[in-house]
Symmetry: C2
Subunit: 316 residues, 2 copies
Amino acid sequence: MTDFELVFLGTSSAVPTEHRGLSSIAVVRSGEILLFDAGEGTQRRFAEAGLGFNKKMKIFITHMHGDHCVGLLGLLQTMSMLNRSNPLSVYGPPGLLSFVRGNIRMLKFGLTFHLEVNTVKADGVVVEEKDYLVSACRGEHHITDYAYVLDEKERPGVFHPERARRLGVPEGELWSKLQHGEPIKLNGEKVYPSEVLGPSRPGRKIAISGDTRPTVKLRRCIKGANVAVLDSTYFDDHADKAREHLHMTAREAAEMASEAGVKLLVLTHFSSRYEDVAPYVYQAVEVHPNVVAASDQMVLEVPYPDEGLPRVKPAK
Amino acid sequence: MTDFELVFLGTSSAVPTEHRGLSSIAVVRSGEILLFDAGEGTQRRFAEAGLGFNKKMKIFITHMHGDHCVGLLGLLQTMSMLNRSNPLSVYGPPGLLSFVRGNIRMLKFGLTFHLEVNTVKADGVVVEEKDYLVSACRGEHHITDYAYVLDEKERPGVFHPERARRLGVPEGELWSKLQHGEPIKLNGEKVYPSEVLGPSRPGRKIAISGDTRPTVKLRRCIKGANVAVLDSTYFDDHADKAREHLHMTAREAAEMASEAGVKLLVLTHFSSRYEDVAPYVYQAVEVHPNVVAASDQMVLEVPYPDEGLPRVKPAK
């Protein structure tokens, strides 16, 4: 069990195919859903995956091409049909606000919840929560396109009960405070977490590229990620098309992931021209040792770095 | 074999379910596709049904609620991705033009074909072609909502070869002209089709209601239809909801179809609250003898009136 999963809701580029819908990835973490892109059909995959339309949630749009954002309309409408009450924040490039507001007006659907649309105007931190950050990093595409990076903050180190006992801290509430990194008072003296905890432990980092060419900046943004989900539209033999249409081949994605020290590379955004996605993986593993090709409804568990590599959850 | 089929691409109301997508019906007639509504997911069902993205085609939108028109965006975009070259005309209520043009601008997709968006401003004939008419008929809903009626023009009567021979008309091109209702010249004398043909035969008529309450006007519009596909959102026990949300129960749809002399009633636009649609049919057949519940990818063949009732094509 992990409290951090990626659910791939749509993995085709541009045009849906028999088995692949348009771009969308749900990150389910500590009871919250962070949705990255919402191509047409997202609401259906979202329901199939049992994600729940009234959960705590944020949505991030990489760029304003229809195959990455049109599904937002049906998703918002269905949330309202199901009487969502929790507020929802959506983040994305310029154009998102007028797209959302314009369509809500034109299609006259009343929202049952507070919707906040935030325009991401530049690289940097987009969301800061108590225990994680989401940052945007501009890629290279025909229109403004952001990669998003989710960074968990450091967790307090491992708790050593023998040290707490030695200091005379009684088991219970005071232990719990120290375990969560809070100092306590004991007989008029302060006890600091560092006295009973090991060194703080790194959180998890995942990156989702949107549609882009490989760039030096992007490589820097995804550095050291536990998982990077990268645009991998083409096979090697269409490397010219990747350059022309500003996407990546699987090999280019693998090169960038390898140079950035990414632990697991997930390939997605597959061209509908290929029936079999196996060559994406063959071509990428020549460059990076750990590669998975995404498929619709694939679930990837992301453990903490010291608990091993992210792994695909067996299908039900 | 008939050259007139209805393909049900989406049969759920408001929210898609596991097996039902949002509203869309393709009428395939003499090589042309007439698409009625395009809810989210239509392009996918359209491709699955093998309908072809570059066919001669017209699209009719009943009303500007998202679950009936959002799929238009992905459909137009995919047509362009596949390099559609044939022009396309779309017809619908006020608001359609700004929805289509606004989104094409906001999502920046270049069309590869000529797109004509026509606003239907009042009841009456919307399209007149050589051999058929499509008319709009306003229903009763929260916003402007048109039912559409497709009326084939009368066909020339049955050809009697013995009459043609008696008049000395040689077999071949001249017979063909007479069969198609054109007068010919023979030895300086005119020969009229009526001299060699039986009485002209009625064409087929189908009606698609959109979202609406039953009304006297609508009953008049669908009069004598071979097939009427009617909004049938609720069971009897939610008749109050049908009135409140301006839809029909299956029974109300059957009453209107019965009074209008409709040959076959097809129920659709099913509420996602019910798992089993059988009660729709049980309740409707108490009022109308010929009732079918639509399902996604169901194909209905529509023969000429003298060739029997429309029939569901066995699934492949």
